[in-house]
């Protein structure tokens, strides 16, 4: 890696490459998509005048108008149901569900309607609807504001489910999701909204559903997505100090899962720990463990281990940091896997 060189270049073209928050990167991505296609509209609760409760849609109403940035009535099923109708008329709605825990009133429209229109119309209908979901915990919120419901949707055929872990990825993903002719749920790690990192608006994006090796390593693979990528990186840093080399994968997509990248990594390291905030039981990690067991059976030196939420409702915020996986919890699983 020619680190100094690329840093020098980035300084030279600082117009394109700057340090921005994930929220700002999504905002920029939305603007690019709205500039590119007049059929792209943004809708949801408080997304207009206020710019969203996380300010992700800040300024869009002023710049694109009421018709394209719609403050909707406070009704999640209504938001997704009308987005379906708008898509049937040829629009490309980007819906914001204000908080993860409020997606459930919309699950009927998402699962029984949005996910199935292409299928039941035998390809005659397209529903290019994007649903942005600020998700996950760690912000000291009240109940229903810290959930990780992505597994329900990854389990549903007809939907695409992705999650961003950095401003750069968020910028790419939102635009790619909007360009997709299929419905896409974008899970945005709300506690990372204000993490700043470099954003290169002109860099070429990887495919929407490709996983990424964010830190190469030798002894064990840690696969994570969304907010847990940073946690996995922290764990890898600590492990490196102790002489253990962890390879960190950012899965980026749950539906479809980039199995090839996961399998490729595990065949090299022989060990896998999957990390997510979602409840472990019947969660995404279980699916990944089953697939990896099937595809890497003879390469595995240890069972695939999962680090995730406990089988309890998301707890009161004063104990959420005991509930949420952190670097120590990841390292505990790493130690167990390495002990085999």
């Amino acid at each position: 890696m020619a680190e100094p060189t690329s840093k020098q270049i980035s300084k030279q073209i600082s117009k394109q490459i700057s340090k921005v928050s994930m929220a700002a990167a999504i905002n920029t991505g939305l603007r690019r998509a709205m500039d590119a296609d007049p059929r792209v509209i943004v809708m949801g609760e408080d997304v207009g005048t206020l710019g969203g409760v996380f300010r992700v849609t800040d300024g869009l109403r002023k710049d694109y108008g009421d018709d394209r940035v719609i403050d909707t009535p406070l009704a999640e099923s209504g938001i997704i149901g009308t987005a379906i109708g708008l898509a049937l008329r040829g629009y490309r709605p980007v819906c914001e569900i204000q908080f993860d825990g409020f997606i459930f009133p919309a699950t009927n429209q998402i699962i029984t309607q949005l996910a199935r229109h292409a299928y039941r119309s035998e390809g005659a209908l397209r529903l290019p609807v994007v649903i942005r979901v600020p998700f996950g915990g760690g912000i000291g919120a009240v109940e229903h504001h810290s959930e990780s419901p992505e597994g329900y949707f990854a389990h549903t055929p007809g939907l695409r489910v992705v999650s961003c872990a950095s401003p750069q990825d968020a910028y790419w993903m939102i635009q790619q999701a909007i360009r997709s002719d299929d419905p896409v749920l974008v899970f945005e790690p709300k506690r990372r909204y204000w993490d700043k990192a470099e954003l290169d608006e002109d860099a070429e994006a990887p495919p929407l559903h490709a996983a990424r090796v964010v830190r190469p390593g030798e002894h064990l693979t840690v696969a994570a997505y969304g907010p847990m990528v940073r946690t996995a990186m922290e764990a890898a840093e600590i492990a490196a100090g102790e002489g253990t080399s962890l390879e960190v994968l950012d899965l980026r997509s749950l539906s479809p899962l980039d199995l090839e990248t996961v399998v490729g990594s595990v065949r090299r390291t022989g060990r896998l720990v999957v990390v997510h905030e979602a409840v472990t039981s019947f969660g995404p990690g279980a699916e990944i463990a089953a697939l990896v067991t099937e595809h890497c059976f003879h390469h595995l030196e240890a069972p695939v281990l999962r680090v995730g939420g406990f089988a309890i409702p998301y707890p009161p915020s004063k104990v959420e940091h005991d509930y949420l996986p952190d670097a120590d919890r990841v390292l505990e699983a790493v130690d167990r896997a390495l002990a085999y």
Binding site: I41, D67, T72, P73, A75, S77, G78, I80, G81, T82, A83, I84, G85, L86, A87, L88, R89, G90, Y91, P105, N108, Q109, T112, Q113, R116, A118, Y119, R120, S121, E122, G123, A124, L125, R126, P157, G158, R160, S180, D181, D182, H209, S255, P256, L257, D258, L259
Partner: protein, 379 residues
């Protein structure tokens, strides 16, 4: 809770004075101050034919189900006037979001009724391209389509296809649902969205008195059309078995929508003469006397009586329509029996428009698995 406190007072199944009616059950024309429509013999003959043909098709479909040729059928028997009267009010550019019993709407849009058979035979989940006749697929999840209609109407509005004064451009959307669906949250959300954004949408509630076994009184304590007031747009109850009145009321509401004046709720007061579906047994929850009462209000008979009494149609006309109906029935049967199951591999088609790795892997595995049988081997 005892029985008397847990039950709301029964709503009267009678045609109340609020109800718009232009043709009485006896086939007498009765003028209404709000709707200047007068019986037009040509139109009435057309609608009569429509209703008879739809009823014949529907009857054939029930028989086909009884004989095991369809998995299920939802009969439109008794609701022909509500469906044909409203369906024939639509302009070509308008868009309809039906429920799963709206065969008369489908017919009125110019669709071939045999296109309804695949979903009930189990050879498809849909069966037609909705954009060909601007008829959305039947929606089975109760009331869900009303939100799609509201969103579609928001799109029409954004396209500037409302209130231009150009009759070929101004577009209305109509969504159908039943009295049971009126209890669904989605229907209330749709009405609220439609009202808040003032979209060109007509809510057409076919109140057929029964939601499977539950009567109106278990769905609502106020007549359904009055709900519109709470949402901020007009509601009107029409005799749903009067094709002339239904058409007049629907045309007025559609014109209002196209002019940019917003939504209307129409409650078509009708009756489901048949079972909810072929799996239902209505004798468990309603009386034969009630059904008989509604038989006297038949939507087809009153038009026939009007046409015959006023010399607008003779026996030859009625015989001709009956002969055409027989052909519709025979063709329904023929086309139904010709519907073959799709090749199993096709079940993987169209889940997504773009490639999806998980699905591709399963499809490939399944193709290999099938090959094992094709080779004649025993697995």
């Amino acid at each position: 809770m005892n029985e008397t406190t847990s039950r709301a007072p029964a709503t009267q199944p009678e045609i109340d004075p609020e109800t718009v009616q232009l043709l009485t059950p006896e086939g007498e024309f009765s003028a209404h101050p709000g709707y200047p429509d007068r019986p037009d013999p040509d139109r009435l003959r057309t609608w009569y034919r429509d209703m008879v043909l739809v009823r014949r098709f529907d009857g054939e479909a029930v028989s086909l189900q009884r004989q095991g040729q369809l998995g299920l059928w939802a009969s439109s028997l008794g609701q022909e006037a509500a469906q044909v009267g409203s369906g024939q009010a639509l302009a070509p550019q308008d868009y309809a979001f039906p429920t799963y019993r709206d065969h008369g709407v489908v017919w009125s849009r110019g669709m071939d009724l045999v296109e309804l058979l695949p979903m009930f035979r189990g050879t498809s989940l849909g069966g037609w391209d909705p954009n060909r006749h601007n008829v959305h697929l039947y929606t089975i999840v109760i009331g869900a389509q009303t939100l799609h209609a509201a969103g579609y109407a928001m799109g029409v509005q954004r396209d500037g296809a409302v209130g231009t004064g150009d009759p070929a451009r101004d577009t209305a959307v109509i969504t159908y649902f039943g009295d049971g669906a009126a209890s669904e949250g989605d229907v209330s959300e749709a009405m609220n969205f439609a009202s808040v954004f003032n979209v060109p949408l007509v809510f057409f509630c076919e109140n057929n008195q029964w939601a499977i076994s539950e009567p109106n009184e278990r769905q609502t304590r106020v007549p359904l059309h009055r709900r519109a007031t709470g949402f901020g747009f007009p509601g009107v109850r029409v005799d749903g078995n009067d094709v002339l009145a239904v058409n007049a009321v629907t045309r007025a509401a559609l014109n209002r929508a196209r002019a940019g004046e917003g939504p209307t709720l129409i409650e078509a007061f009708t009756y489901r003469m048949g079972a909810h579906t072929t799996s239902d047994d209505p004798s468990r929850y309603r009386s034969e006397a009630e059904v008989e009462l509604w038989r006297l209000r038949d939507p087809i008979e009153r038009v026939r009586a009007y046409l015959a009494r006023n010399g607008h149609a003779d026996e030859a006309f009625f015989a001709e329509v009956d002969a055409e109906a027989a052909k519709v029935g025979a063709r329904a049967r023929r086309e139904c029996l010709a519907l073959e199951p799709p090749a199993p591999e096709t079940m993987f088609d169209h889940v997504y428009h773009e490639p999806h790795g998980t699905l591709a892997a399963e499809r490939a595995w399944y193709a290999e698995y099938r090959k094992g049988f094709a080779a004649g081997g025993v697995r």
